[in-house]
Subunit: 148 residues, 2 copies
DNA sequence: GCTTGACCTCAAGTCGACTTGAATTCGTAC
DNA sequence: GTACGAATTCAAGTCGACTTGAGGTCAAGC
């Protein structure tokens, strides 16, 4: 078993030490023990951090992600729940696709004002019908760099 | 010109009055005048709110969205910025797709632990290679309902 | 004239995901 | 044995996008 110092984990994963401590605090990851004060992690934590990052990228909250690991720290999610999430991702993708199409159209549309472009209005209406508009769903995170 | 009371705007748009006040405060929308204390809005504000909601869904911040309207209140967005955002959405979609595939695989994989499943590891590596993992980009917003 | 209810203002609170800072404690190298 | 550097704890701060609450105001209907 590979054992890594917190600093090493931070460096290899790109996740700040403060973040690692925070993750430990909320029970998302666990350290093996201390060497003096320093946390030491099982090398597997790197894979787990990848999974966490992926979950975040997919729009899951840390709490939700935490729920995806069993008590032994291994991924452990009821299979139908997984499928459900996959389907939800599918839906999110569809929304993003619609949105992307709108943006692309607006970018290329020669009409002086978008409000006067029939295609734009049509796309907007389609978006509204799909409830895309009033359901806050996706947000870029602040311009904060975790990696140095 | 249609004139709407703030309450009506709220009801028709699904945006809470407090939010409308907040938007006015930060200069995102403007009211015409007051009737007594009450703000009155031009009916056009509804379309503008749709655009705002769409911008949010696309991952723009309110500040960025505010910058997308000319001083006359009409949409006015640099086209290449739009294309850039569309491309970013595209990347987001790719991330979601990868994640969806992973979830689906995990849901169907017969291996006792995913960490031991070669397919899983392969998918994870693919995800990592695509920089999916360390670029924080998308987040679902909290479970807060703006509409009543 | 009085009540009612929808609106008002302003300050403060919330939420998630971290970061920052001050004061402290180690292991290691010299 | 002491200095150094990296890590520690704990409380508090930050950011965006709002919401909440207390206390005040107004137009319309009776």
């Amino acid at each position: 078993m590979v054992v890594l110092d917190i600093g090493e984990v931070a460096e290899r994963s790109g996740v700040a030490p403060s973040t690692l401590r925070y993750y430990e605090e909320i029970g998302l990851i666990a350290s093996l023990w201390r060497r003096g004060l320093r946390r030491q992690f099982d090398g597997d934590v790197l894979l787990k951090l990848s999974l966490i990052a992926m979950g975040k990228a997919a729009g899951f909250s840390l709490e939700e992600i935490a729920g995806m690991f069993g008590r032994d720290g291994r991924p452990d999610i009821p299979r139908d729940q997984l499928r459900e999430r996959a389907d939800e991702l599918q839906r999110q993708m569809a929304e993003l696709r619609t949105l992307r199409d709108i943006l692309r159209h607006v970018a290329d549309c020669p009409a002086p004002s978008h409000l006067e472009c029939p295609t734009f209005r049509k796309l907007m209406q389609a978006a509204s019908r799909r409830k895309l508009v009033y359901r806050p769903s996706v947000r870029r995170s602040g311009a904060r760099r975790t990696a140095p």
